[in-house]
């Protein structure tokens, strides 16, 4: 690792004013630290968010679940409140990476990185979540812009994510057997505003599969999805899977997600 300066502020305002052009916020560090170690990235200063109490925690009101940016995957996975309000979200968090990664990694860090194969973007877009920052609130679809790109500005920090509680929701992923990242993951939710189907891992950025949404709106069952294909062009292809393979996985995972929905 190249050398860097380090600061550990205790409040959001302090953190934001500490960040300069070459600096990076450090959340759980499960992506940033490996990237720095490989010298794929360099930081003048790391501003560690680990000491900011106001960024941690989960609360559930009547209609939504609110999760602080520095809440770890393990805490979302084990939360009795999340399990009862949105079991699919707890299930998703419990399948990110491995146990040690879940003990450090955070929701704010994951979504701010916007890895194309990360799990959380599917839940945010699938549930129609709102991302709150120190400056504004924006819809998940406006937040995730492109490959490793979000709408965040340099001095903008995710503070929490709020998820409307759906009627039912399910998540299914085909994990890369080594990394457990989603080769393809599909999050399906039946909400008051309609059915939403969000796909991660298959393309450069999370996206909605609107043909499936339409089919599930009239009949929320795996059978309704039979015959619906996703166009392979524009999907990702790499050593792990071709675009055609990923396109097929979307259908398979969507059906599994609908069956698992509760």
């Amino acid at each position: 690792m190249y050398s860097f300066d380090y600061e550990r502020p205790s409040g959001v305002n302090e953190a934001v004013s500490a960040i300069g052009e070459d600096d990076k916020f450090l959340a759980g560090g499960q992506t940033l630290l490996p990237t720095l170690k490989l010298r794929l990235a360099q930081a003048g200063k790391l501003v560690d968010l680990g000491g900011i109490a106001e960024l941690k925690g989960i609360s559930v009101s009547g209609s939504e679940v609110s999760i602080g940016a520095m809440t770890r995957h393990v805490d979302v996975a084990n939360s009795a409140d999340v399990k009862s309000a949105i079991p699919a979200l707890s299930y998703l968090a419990s399948h990110i990476g491995d146990a040690q990664v879940r003990n450090r990694g955070t929701i704010g860090g994951s979504i701010s990185n916007n890895d194309p194969a990360a799990d959380y973007p599917a839940a945010l877009v699938g549930l129609g979540a709102t991302v709150h920052t120190n400056k504004r609130s924006l819809s998940a679809e406006d937040f995730f812009v492109d490959l490793f790109e979000t709408a965040l500005e340099e001095d903008e920090l995710v503070t929490k994510v709020t998820f409307p509680i759906p009627e039912k929701a399910g998540y299914a992923k085909f994990p890369n057997p080594a990394s457990r990242y989603a080769l393809t993951g599909v999050f399906v939710a039946k909400t008051a505003q309609g059915v939403r189907v969000a796909v991660t891992g298959a393309g450069p950025c999370v996206f909605r599969q609107t043909d499936m949404e339409a089919a599930l709106s009239s009949n929320f069952s795996a059978d309704a999805l039979s015959g619906i294909k996703t166009e392979a062009s524009g999907l990702s292809a790499d050593i792990h899977a071709s675009a055609d393979y990923r396109a097929n996985l979307i259908s398979v995972m969507a059906a599994r997600a609908v069956k698992a929905a509760s």
Binding site: Y6, A99, V101
Partner: protein
Amino acid sequence: MTTVNMTVNGKKVSADVAPNTLLVQFIRENLRLTGTHVGCDTSQCGACTVHVDGDSVKSCTMLAVQADGAEVTTIEGLAKNGELHPMQAAFKENHGLQCGFCTPGMIMSAVDLVKRNPNPSEETIRTELEGNICRCTGYHNIVKSVKAAAENMGG
């Protein structure tokens, strides 16, 4: 340099470290506790697993400064009064290791696993040990060891 204070295996330690010092470097090089191994150094193999405030973490993917104020337990901190921890005893009894390189991390993960799942099934053990790689055993005796330890630990 940044000053870090932490409690490692029950003992208070303090040092000035460069901010880019990894927790595993601090443990091995400053504290000379070399039971914690560096395997892949890319957050995959789990050989460097230690407990920070009771949770298993990969100490190659955490900065020493992030552990400021924390309680850290390494493999050296498990045995009490010359008695092996039940997990260590079970690995010995069930031949849960061959070359032994992954063993410290495997045991630290397994202790955390049993804390979270006091009576784990074979499937749970295999899934929960996802973050630890062993290139010798084929995992069979590791799983057997964890199951035996969980029973001995009163699961």
